[in-house]
């Protein structure tokens, strides 16, 4: 344990986790509630990226439609609130049920395809959902819904309180990271990984890879739906825009910056992405130029993302021991 911790990667990851645990205390001492917002946003999107990492990193299914689940989760808060139903269990239930169902139905169809076809069919389903919400006048159509009150958990949790919301998200994130860790080290993960590299071989070994992939797709969608539930509560606002394909693209970027297929990669990737965005956009309105160039450079020259960098440092460290 001590050995793992003193490796560069162990050091970075444990520092990050400790920082995340104590952040609200430090921030409240500094009276800078804006930074708690930024961190909360990072954590929520990290959950989404963790879920994306499961299908892309382990399942090899590149989805350009993952933002759909953020939308489903957020509308699960927005629509009941519109009818003055503030019960958080109902919201969460809808988010989980809705995104699982959407993932199941679309997954059954999408998984008949692969490669470019898979990328575009996931995109197509998300666009359909996007236009569905754009077309519903009652729920604000393009204008979206303002969520005037956050989900209520009957005195158990008061997520109107920024610190409580933060810790609730953090707990869910840590649980989902643990879930990923267990999944990929179980036989389940090995079958998935095998199918990513050679689907025919796994099938000839007697695995029904379609079922593995489909369940993986549903788990991923559901987890992202939970992230959407938090996002809706956090921003107090939801619009179809949240499901735009460019948001799906951004999620992929966060994943790649962290390192595709690394359990803890999403934490680093999302944080880096959002800090960069925050930092660059405060310098110039032309920040997308720098951002775009960095992203291109990262993909073309920085294989493995930040996690890859840490792994290389680990190996160097091990040699020096």
């Amino acid at each position: 344990m001590i050995g793992t911790l003193s490796k560069p990667s162990g050091l970075v990851y444990s520092t990050v986790i400790v920082l995340l645990l104590i952040a609200p205390v430090v921030i409240s001492l500094m009276e800078h509630s804006f930074y708690l917002d930024l961190l909360t946003r990072i954590l929520i999107l990290t959950i989404a990226v963790v879920s994306l990492n499961l299908i892309v990193g382990y399942g090899g299914m590149i989805s350009l439609g993952h933002a759909a689940y953020l939308g489903i989760g957020a509308y699960s808060v927005g629509i009941p609130s519109y009818y003055e139903v503030f019960n958080g269990y109902i919201h969460l239930g809808l988010a989980i049920g809705g995104s699982a169902l959407f993932a199941l139905v679309t997954g059954i169809i999408c998984l008949r395809t692969r490669g470019l076809y898979f990328i575009l069919i996931t995109l197509a389903f998300t666009q359909m959902l996007y236009y569905t919400f754009v077309s519903i006048e009652e729920y604000g159509a393009d204008d979206g819904l303002v969520i005037y009150q956050r989900s209520e958990f009957g005195g158990l949790l008061d997520i109107e309180n920024a610190n409580t919301l933060y810790y609730a998200v953090l707990v869910v994130l840590l649980l989902s990271l643990y879930l990923m860790h267990r999944l990929i080290h179980a036989r389940y993960g090995k079958v998935l990984f095998g199918s990513k590299h050679n689907d025919e071989r796994m099938q000839s070994l007697g695995y029904n890879t379609y079922q593995y992939k489909l369940s993986c797709y549903v788990i991923s969608g559901t987890l992202c739906g939970i992230a959407g539930f938090f996002l809706g509560n956090f921003t107090n606002y939801i619009s179809p825009e949240m499901m735009d394909w460019t948001h799906s693209g951004e999620l992929i970027f966060m994943m790649v910056i962290g390192g595709t297929g690394a359990v803890l990669g999403p934490v680093l990737g999302t944080a880096t992405f959002l800090f960069l965005e925050e930092f660059l956009s405060s310098i110039t309105v032309y920040w997308h130029l720098i951002f775009g160039l960095l992203l291109i450079a990262l993909v073309m020259f920085g294989k493995g993302g930040l996690h890859g960098l840490l792994s290389r440092m680990d190996r160097r460290w091990e040699k020096s021991q």
């Binding site: 393009d142 303002v146 005037y148 606002y237 825009e241 800090f275 960069l276 960095l294 990262l298 920085g302």
Partner: protein
């Protein structure tokens, strides 16, 4: 990689060490508008007007330095909200102003008002904030969305137009505009199309224009703010509808679209009618100074967005002057703003209990000025001291 690490460290450092600027010496105004995307041209105009207002005030309000922080909403409600959060929570501004788009304003208003800060709309006037959702700390220096199209509806009645075809973008303001013209216009609505809006807005109106033409209406009412307006009018002319289907517009023909239309030789717009609470040729001292200085600096007429933004700063100034620069006494500032005691570029106006202006609306026509540049000229006053229709729903 190295570069990236530096950037991360730098951004972390910047993020955590942002100093709290001394609050006593300056008045801090956050200004949210659109600076990127094609709509950025509107934001630029507003920004120029705000800077001109600050310049006219000598950089000070009641002895305090003016500090304006501009934020770009990227034409997206959630980005607008994030930026507003930052202005309120990190920069601790005293006023948040700006907001071109109704949906961005609606998404962002909660943050500002929950924090007990003043929110001033320099453009958007959604019915929600004028009616049930009115707030003691929300003010507008523009109009309620329905008012301008109502004035246009009245003009259509006066001109004896029997039926109109309506084309407008499908978002909060578009719906309000349509509601406004439908409320005032007594003739027949021959047909209506609401088109896709947002960053992927529809810009080719061939299908809609063909329908409008086939409907046999006497007039065409449109609302297309920003660059979409220019595109629409070009296609209107290309479709040859100038004589058969006269154009009546609100917030479409302005100093942003006119120079481009002139460059594209779309003379179908000359003579077209629009209604507005203001025009560059309105005869009052404040407006003359504003228009002349703006033209001298930027070479073009200011748009109505610019006029409203200029007034937002002047409204804040009037409140600070009345309270002697005391920012702590919110009630006094609010009471002062309610009086609207300043020389607005539209002339004097007053506030209703929902803090929406009670003001005149004019019919304007597109003409060429002395230098040959196309601009709008006031034809006559349509409404005198007009109040919006939602004020009774406001429980203030």
């Amino acid at each position: 990689m190295i570069l990236k690490k530096h950037l991360i460290t730098a951004s972390l450092a910047a993020a955590l060490s942002m100093p709290v600027v001394g609050q006593a010496e300056s008045v801090k105004i956050g200004f949210v508008t659109t600076l990127t995307t094609p709509a950025g041209v509107i934001g630029e105009d507003m920004k120029n007007a705000v800077n001109l207002a600050v310049e006219h005030l000598g950089g000070k309000m009641a002895g305090k330095d003016i500090e304006v922080m501009f934020e770009d909403d990227g034409f997206k409600p959630e980005i607008g909200k994030q930026k507003t959060d930052k202005l309120v929570k990190r920069d601790d501004v005293d006023f948040v102003a700006g907001f071109i788009w109704s949906h961005v304003l609606l998404a962002s208003s909660k943050t500002v008002l929950d924090a007990g800060k003043f929110l001033i709309s320099s453009n958007a006037g959604p019915s929600q904030l004028a009616g049930k959702g009115c707030n003691k700390n929300f003010f507008s220096t523009s109009w309620q969305n329905d008012q301008t199209p109502m004035a246009m509806g009245e003009v259509l009645n006066q001109q004896g137009v029997k039926s109109v075809y309506i084309i407008a973008p499908n978002y909060a303001a578009g719906k309000n505009m349509v509601a406004g013209v439908e409320r005032a216009f007594k003739g027949k609505i021959a047909g209506k199309d609401m088109t896709k809006w947002g960053k992927d807005k529809q810009l080719d109106f061939s299908a809609e224009l063909a329908k409008a033409k086939a409907s046999g209406a006497d007039g065409l009412f449109i609302f297309y703010p920003g660059s979409a307006g220019g595109a629409f009018i070009k296609q209107y002319q290309q479709a040859g509808l100038r004589d058969s289907l006269p154009l009546y517009s609100v917030f479409t023909v302005d100093s942003i679209s006119l120079p481009k239309l002139q460059a594209a030789k779309i003379d179908g717009v000359v003579g077209s009618k629009s209604t507005m609470f203001w025009a560059p040729d309105l005869d009052n001292a404040a407006n003359k100074k504003f228009v002349a200085d703006f033209k001298a600096k930027h070479g073009t007429y200011p748009s109505f967005y610019a006029a409203q933004s200029y007034d937002s700063i002047m409204l804040i100034n009037s409140a600070l002057k009345a309270t002697g620069g005391n920012l702590d006494n919110q009630d006094a500032i609010r009471a002062a703003m309610e009086k609207a005691d300043f020389d607005s570029v539209r002339g004097r106006y007053s506030y209703g209990k929902n803090h929406m202006p009670i003001q005149n609306f004019y019919l304007r026509e597109v003409v060429a000025d002395a230098d040959g540049n196309w601009t709008t000229k006031v034809v006559r006053t349509v409404f005198k001291n007009h109040q919006d229709s939602y004020v009774d729903q406001c429980k203030l």
